[in-house]
């Protein structure tokens, strides 16, 4: 009975225990994408009871009585502790362990933790990148991180910006940073990389980060890391977006009314006839009326597009167009009326992009694959990009000592492009036409009834200004019509690019790892240019087809040996490596004319050989040996040092090898025991110094070069350029010091000071052309770039449903030439105050000690003279030709002196700011970029302000011309508007313009459906969004865009595109 009782009790107890134990189930998902997290660990707090989620992220666990909390953990995720509170289902959302992820910094030949990193790097995450809709991932850097400036003179689909990191290290050699994609140098087209495949971009800015790239690290390094699978269940993502591209560049405020244009031009004619030819106002009026429709040799505009009663004059002596005049004129079979060239040229380009990725990983293997298709139409006909990209990345831990991996990508591209971008005088540049054409010229040739004329080939005829349109000849961009060329000609690049990377990691021993890395890049592009047989300069050839096939093949091989050992609180790691890089560019080209059909765009379809068959091969080799040692003490003091010995085929064999090095240290003060400030969560002090090289000067500068030419069937050589054997590395010494901090776990930031000195700077040094050549390369002089950077991130609100982040960065840059070889000081120049500089002129800039690389050297505008002519300053000379030190003015442009200007085209301050707000499923972000200060030459404005001459007439006049000096209006700073005043708007300080700007880079708005709704729809996550890029910019003058370049900002460049898209992202 006792036993029975015992048994009963036991059973009872058991039941009690059974009943006291609760079974809890639930799903663990990621806050990032809503995907389930498999293999997450679930622990009942205070017990050893554990469970794991399955592949669907589902777990179940028995929770004993008395326990009310579960602890969820997963690698890379923040731990979650959840109260059960009697629930049977406890779903948990895990957030990525932000600190953990951000802790990894991609560095040369490996990764580092952020804490131990002694250098300066800025990281742009995939979140930021996906907000950009540029075809080139590089363009997403604008304003995103400090120290980086982007300029772009080509907004075409697929075009990339020019990047400058912390100023300019060189005058004549390249200033472009080294691009590294997944560890190997990348020389290909950035737009061949799908933005959606990029995990992050890390910009390495200081010596301790770059020195291992030795010869090529001087301009900084941009490391693009592609995505790989994250541990967890297989994830399928589909992203589709659709939108349009528009012109983002503003137009100059030019006179749009044809009537006003004639009246303005009439003023120029009247001033000319009265002032230069001495005619009375009446005679001048008669002559102006006679000539205004004649050629520019007669001061006319070539076209008269108004009808007015016979016997009356077009423009009266009052300067007004005859009120009886009506726009549009019939001449024989032709009707002449102006068109808006810009409206006819531009279109809204359709942009569509579809991306699908599949990824998954476990502790042995990881797999990532993606396919993306982009179709991006430019803002004019004949400009587009179609791109299909695919990527496969996998790794496998084959043995516990052996890991292998590969990363392959393939791109197929097909793009049409425009010609002669940027040339304001090029008859092939559509932008030159649309931005400069006076509002009186017709684009179309019309029948007398106003309909467009169609030629025998069925082509709607456009006016080439060559007399075809009723015999009228346009004085501006004559015998040309880039808009028609665009329709009839073909300029196409199509081809395939592939990259392949394979690696083997071998652990010899627990602390020693050998990595062998091989990467290739192959780009085969086939270019076709078809010049039409109907119009333009190749018409007589009956159609010309030009074919170019180019192949680029890069190989990079690396052998890396890593050793890492911890002794107590000391950790030491050593890297030894060897790298070999070979780049080959092949080209094969030929042309034929007299084509069978415009649709047959192959050489086989044309019959007359253009005698231009050619092929070439260029090769570049580079090799380096390197090592790095890192030491850390107690995870709070870090030291690193590196050394690389490099050779480049760009130099003479005797000057080929160079040595580069760096040292760096950092100290995490907050880890010291005495550091007891609880509101400072992190405080790190760091400093680094080192040297890198720059060999980016083109091939064979070390030797004289000769052209090989056909001389009536004989091989002949003609001297082409001067070399200098001794040229060698341009070396940049880089010093960086900074503080990183985190306060209240809300405000993080970095302050850095940098100081870069380039020595042995490579100059293309000008020589008197009487020597038979005009320049050669030499290592002469030093340049300094110094400044500071600040970047701040502030987490203003962080609650369960709302998070609000604000970021801001600013960079200060000062650029100076600190030393110039005595032999290169061939000229003496002065600034306005009479200070003397010795150096040489480099275009519109002057190279001398103590002034900036981009210090303007221009004639100085002195306002308007008594007769309304432009005045410039000139140094007064005494009888013996010596400068007296005073400046006087002259109205002779050619006599005026050049002065060094204190303004440079480099803005001292630049950066970006933005904010991101997430609330209740909505996300919103806006990002700006800006620069403050600096002076840029506004050549677009200068051209529109110029007086017409016989050589240059028929362009649109800026409205400011209406404010020109006249006898009635003698008190302003704009010179008289008179025909044949060739230099009235000559290049001078008059057109230097404040280069400050503010640009809205992008605005993104999205809504993510809650998981429950998403699941009902069959996915795990569903996000809708709209995105706008290049939204608007503000600059000193409408039409002026200082982001085009440091030397010139015309209006004849492919405008940046404003892109507005809507999209949807689905995850399964």
């Amino acid at each position: 009975m006792k036993k029975l009782l015992l048994l009963t009790f036991s059973v009872m107890m058991g039941f009690t225990a059974l009943f006291a134990q609760q079974r809890v189930t639930g799903t663990v998902t990621s806050s990032e994408d809503g995907a389930p997290i498999p293999y997450a660990t679930v622990v009942v707090t205070g017990t050893t009871l554990t469970s794991q989620t399955d592949l669907d992220g589902v777990y179940s666990i028995n929770v004993p009585a008395g326990s009310n909390t579960l602890r969820f953990s997963f690698v890379g995720m923040q731990m979650v502790v959840a109260d059960i509170n009697g629930r049977a289902v406890v779903d948990v959302i895990m957030s990525p362990d932000a600190i953990a992820l951000e802790d990894i910094v991609v560095v040369a030949f490996g990764t580092s933790t952020r804490e131990s990193f002694t250098g300066s790097a800025a990281v742009v995450s995939s979140e930021v990148l996906t907000k950009s809709q540029s075809s080139s991932v590089i363009n997403a850097l604008a304003g995103a991180v400090p120290g980086i400036q982007l300029t772009s003179n080509n907004g075409a689909p697929g075009a990339s910006s020019t990047i400058r990191i912390r100023g300019f290290s060189s005058l004549s050699a390249g200033n472009d940073p080294l691009i590294i994609v997944d560890g190997a140098p990348y020389s290909g087209d950035i737009s061949n990389i799908a933005t959606s495949d990029v995990e992050n971009i890390t910009v390495l800015k200081d010596a301790s980060s770059n020195a291992l790239y030795g010869a090529r690290g001087a301009n900084g390094v941009v490391m693009i890391t592609t995505k790989k699978a994250k541990a967890g269940k297989a994830l399928v993502t589909f992203d589709a977006r659709f939108g349009g591209n528009m012109r983002a560049l503003q137009n100059y405020n030019t006179i749009q009314d044809p009537l006003l244009h004639y009246e303005t031009h009439y003023v120029a004619m009247m001033n000319y006839f009265q002032d230069k030819m001495g005619l009375s106002i009446e005679d001048a009026n008669v002559r102006a009326n006679q000539n205004i429709g004649l050629s520019s040799s007669n001061a006319g505009l070539g076209y008269l597009i108004y009808e007015f009663p016979q016997g009356q004059s077009f423009i009266g002596t009052n300067g007004k167009v005859n009120p009886n005049a009506t726009l549009g004129r019939t001449i024989g079979d032709y009707y002449i009326t102006p068109d808006n060239w810009a409206d006819e040229a531009y279109r809204t380009g359709i942009r569509q992009e579809y991306i699908m990725t599949v990824s998954g990983a476990n502790d042995k293997a990881s797999f990532y694959s993606s396919v993306a298709y982009l179709s991006n139409e430019g803002i004019t006909a004949g400009s587009d990009l179609k791109r299909l990209t695919a990527r496969l990345r996998a790794s496998y831990q084959a043995k516990n000592w052996l890991k292998v991996g590969g990363n392959m990508s393939y791109t197929n591209f097909d793009s049409n492009y425009l010609g002669n971008n940027g040339s304001s005088t090029s008859t092939g540049n559509v932008w030159a036409f649309t931005s400069q054409m006076a509002p009186i010229y017709p684009l179309w040739i019309r029948n007398a009834d106003g309909s467009r004329k169609v030629d025998a080939n069925g082509i709607e005829m456009m006016d080439y200004g060559d007399g075809q349109n009723a015999g009228l000849a346009r004085p501006f961009l004559f015998n040309a019509n880039a808009l028609q060329d665009l329709r009839l000609n073909t300029r196409n690049n199509e081809g395939n690019a592939a990259t392949g990377n394979g690696y083997v990691d071998i652990n010899f021993y627990k602390d020693l790892k050998l990595t062998i890395n091989g990467t290739f890049y192959l780009d085969e592009t086939r270019s076709t240019e078809v010049l039409n047989p109907y119009y333009g300069q190749f018409a007589s050839t009956k159609g010309t087809v030009i074919k170019v096939h180019s192949r680029r093949f890069d190989v990079n091989l690396q052998q890396l040996l890593n050793y890492k050992k911890t002794f107590g609180r000391n950790t030491i790691s050593v890297l030894l490596g060897h790298e070999y890089y070979n780049k080959k560019n092949y080209s094969l080209s030929a042309s034929k004319s007299n084509m069978f059909s415009q649709k047959n765009k192959e050489l086989g379809g044309a019959v007359v050989d253009g005698q231009s068959a050619n092929s070439s091969l260029s090769e570049y080799n580079q090799e380096g040996f390197f090592g790095r040692v890192q030491y850390d003490f107690a995870d709070k003091l870090y030291f690193s040092g590196s050394y690389r010995r490099d050779a480049s085929s760009r130099f003479n064999p005797n000057h080929r090898w160079g040595n580069f090095w760096s040292v760096g240290a950092s100290w995490l003060m907050n880890k010291e025991s005495w550091f007891a400030t609880d509101w400072i969560n992190e405080l790190k002090i760091k400093a680094s110094a080192g040297q890198q090289g720059n060999d980016n000067i083109g091939a064979y500068r070390y030797t004289d070069l000769y052209d090989i030419t056909n001389s009536s069937g004989n091989v002949s050589t003609i001297f082409s350029s001067k070399g200098s054997e001794a040229i060698t590395w341009e070396t940049t010494t880089n010093i960086n010091a900074g503080i990183e901090f985190n306060m209240w776990n809300r405000l993080t930031g970095v302050v850095e000071y940098y100081h870069r000195i380039t020595t042995d700077m490579l100059f293309s040094f000008p020589v008197a052309p009487s020597m038979g050549y005009t320049s050669y390369y030499a290592n002469v002089g030093n340049m300094k770039n110094s400044g500071a950077e600040l970047s701040l991130n502030f987490n203003a609100i962080s609650t369960k449903n709302i998070s609000w982040d604000i970021n801001f960065n600013i960079t200060y840059l000062k650029n100076n030439i600190t030393m110039l070889d005595e032999g290169k000081k061939t000229k003496i120049a002065y600034d306005a105050d009479g200070n003397e500089y010795k150096g040489y002129q480099n275009g519109s800039f002057f190279v001398a000690e103590g002034v900036s690389h981009y210090a303007w050297y221009l004639k100085e505008y002195a306002g308007v003279g008594e007769d309304g002519q432009s005045l410039w300053y000139i140094d007064e000379e005494d009888g013996s030709g010596q400068r007296t030190g005073t400046r006087v003015t002259t109205n002779q442009y050619s006599e005026a002196d050049y002065y060094i200007n204190n303004a440079t085209s480099i803005s001292p301050f630049y950066g970006g700011f933005g904010t991101t707000l997430n609330a209740y499923g909505f996300d919103f972000s806006i990002n700006f970029s800006y620069q403050i200060g600096g002076q840029q030459y506004d050549s677009g404005y200068a051209h529109a302000m110029g007086s017409p001459t016989s050589n240059n007439s028929g362009y649109g006049y800026h409205v400011d011309v209406l404010k020109s000096w006249s006898k009635e209006n003698p008190n302003n700073n704009i010179p008289r508007f008179q025909f044949d005043d060739t230099y009235s708007a000559g290049k001078s300080t008059r057109f230097l313009t404040d280069a400050s700007y503010l640009n809205i880079e992008n605005i993104n708005l999205g809504y993510t459906l809650s998981n429950k709704v998403a699941k009902k729809l069959g996915g795990t996550s569903l996000r809708f969004y709209v995105s706008c890029e290049n939204v608007w910019y503000w600059s000193q003058r409408q039409g002026f865009d200082p982001r085009i370049s440091y030397t010139d900002t015309g209006s004849s460049y492919y405008s940046p595109m404003r892109t507005i898209s809507g999209g949807i992202t689905v995850k399964f």
């Binding site: 050793y563 005698q611 056909n710 004989n714 050589t717 008197a768």
Partner: protein
């Protein structure tokens, strides 16, 4: 570098150290791996040239190719006037005022700045192009001279190269002397300090450092230098005759001497050397058939026996716009010609008698039935041409459609007719006017106009008449520029009935047109301190049109 790896897991620390050391040593001793590269395209390094047995031959061949190379100065398509020596010739034509564009828009004529005297300042292409071009030729000649001088016992061939090097150099400096020496005129002021100055002298012995401070030398010094070069050329070419007239031979050297003597007003010697040139060359003036041949007229050296010296275009080295024929051949349908349609200044045309067949080079204004113009196109095309338009220069083989074949022409540098005319003027000025008139009449009646009569007794009028015949004979070939500047002949562009295409062309210059004193480009002045303050005055805008 190949690493042999033991796949077995290595646990032995000794092995580990061994492998570590081997790799470390291997890595740091592989410095000689890097491969030297050489260009494999249309360029060669000096090392490759040094290793070539035929390097000197190739360099010599290079000079005539260079003289017609498209985009020589910029190395790429930057300016369509950048077409080496023929571009400079077109500039001379325009400066003379003897050619006018007759097409719809005179602005198609990019060379017009030389004509209308605008945009000729030191920052302009017109100042940059001739300077750069001639000094590139001079460097090539200097390189040849220098290379042969290095040879201890040069062969006859190498001596011949040396002679040609001197001839090319003298030829270039003769041009520059006459182009840059500033001559007083009523439009610009010539400072005393630049009077009589020519150009900086760069020889095979000039070092780069010398070039930084290399003053303009005086006419006398440059003349002596040119004559010294020509004497050397004469000496070396006495025993060597190049195989084609693309290279200067002894007769050409005589011709160059005749030109130089004439420029130096040494008429007696000019007459002697012009005659020596005619005799040594064995050339005879073009006849009417050769002159008017629509397939070979003034475009193929092989079709006549008049050209002592010429250059040739090859299709590979020219662009569709940047070639001589495309600019000046009236029938060509490529390049700028079809738009510019160069014609002759009307007063010249009007003065040519109908009996002179050279008049057939220009379309007659009044009556198209005046003459059945020879053409490779059709009569409708001819009838569509504006009056005074020139068809003197033809497309090769009559191919007016394809620039690669029709434009691969020859361009004369020296014709025997020029020597006859030099001889006539020089005889007239050194012997007697009558002797000159006789020589001129003999040339004209034998070769050009059987009805030609010259009844001049006055020296100045006689020189003007010879100049006029040069303007007609050498129309488009530019060489009358040198005589016009020497004789201060001025230019007539504004007169009743002028075919000047617009007001800006209507400028009359008396004596010296200011742009005949060429301006030195800024980049020379900036990099050669000796020239600062020593440039010729900017002629731009100094003459106003007269209406």
């Amino acid at each position: 570098m190949v690493l042999q790896l033991n796949s077995k897991k290595i646990t032995d620390m000794k092995n580990l150290i061994k492998i570590f050391s081997i790799i470390a040593i291997g890595v740091f001793t592989l410095q000689s791996c890097i491969k030297e590269t050489f260009p494999q395209d249309d360029s060669a390094t000096s090392k490759q040239i040094g290793e070539s047995a035929s390097a000197l031959d190739a360099a010599m061949s290079g000079i005539p190719a260079q003289l017609s190379q498209g985009y020589l100065v910029y190395g790429n398509q930057t300016d369509e006037r950048d077409m080496a020596y023929p571009g400079i010739l077109l500039g001379f034509n325009e400066a003379l005022g003897d050619i006018f564009p007759q097409g719809t828009n005179p602005a198609y004529d990019w060379y017009r700045q030389f004509n209308i005297q605008t945009g000729l300042g030191p920052n302009s292409y017109p100042s940059y192009l001739p300077w750069r071009t001639f000094y590139m030729f001079i460097k090539s000649a200097n390189d040849i001279i220098n290379a042969v001088k290095q040879v201890e016992e040069p062969s006859d061939l190498q001596k011949g190269y040396l002679g040609m090097g001197y001839a090319y150099r003298a030829w270039a400096y003769w041009h520059m002397w006459n182009m840059y020496v500033p001559v007083e005129n009523q439009y610009t002021t010539i400072d005393a300090k630049i009077q009589g100055l020519t150009v900086p002298l760069v020889t095979d012995e000039t070092a780069e450092t010398d070039g930084k401070n290399n003053p303009r030398i005086s006419e006398g010094v440059l003349y002596d230098f040119i004559m010294s070069d020509l004497n050397l050329a004469e000496e070396f070419l006495a025993t060597f005759t190049p195989t084609t007239n693309r290279y200067p031979n002894l007769a050409v050297v005589y011709g160059l001497k005749a030109r130089a003597f004439l420029s130096n007003l040494d008429y007696a010697n000019a007459a002697i050397y012009a005659r020596k040139s005619i005799d040594a060359s064995g050339c005879s003036p073009l006849n009417q058939t050769q002159w008017e041949d629509p397939n070979s007229g003034f475009c193929l050296a092989s079709a006549n026996n008049s050209w002592l010296w010429y250059i040739s275009y090859s299709a590979e080295a020219m662009g569709n716009l940047c070639n001589w024929t495309g600019w000046i051949a009236g029938e060509a349908d490529w390049g700028y010609n079809s738009l510019t349609q160069f014609g002759v200044n009307r007063w010249i045309y009007d003065r040519i008698p109908d009996s002179d067949f050279r008049k057939h080079s220009f379309i007659d204004p009044g009556y198209y039935d005046y003459y059945d113009y020879k053409t490779c196109r059709d009569q409708a095309f001819i009838k569509g041409l504006k009056p005074y338009t020139s068809i003197k220069f033809r497309c090769v083989g009559g191919d007016w459609e394809n620039y690669a074949t029709g434009g691969a022409s020859d361009v004369p540098l020296m014709r025997v007719e020029e020597m006859y005319l030099i001889e006539a003027e020089a005889l007239g000025m050194s012997s007697s006017i009558n002797a000159g008139v006789q020589a001129l009449t003999s040339f004209m009646t034998s070769f050009r106009d059987p009805k030609y009569i010259c009844a001049i007794t006055d020296a100045q009028a006689f020189q003007e008449e010879v100049l006029f015949q040069k303007r007609v004979e050498l129309w488009g070939e530019g060489l009358a520029f040198f005589d016009a500047k020497r004789l201060r002949a001025g230019s007539l562009q504004s007169y009743p009935g002028s075919n000047a295409p617009g007001d800006v062309f209507k400028i009359n210059a008396v004596g010296i047109k200011p742009g005949w004193n060429y301006v030195i480009p800024n980049n020379e002045v900036q990099n050669n301190v000796a020239l600062e303050g020593f440039n010729n005055p900017d002629p731009s805008g100094t003459i106003q049109p007269t209406l």
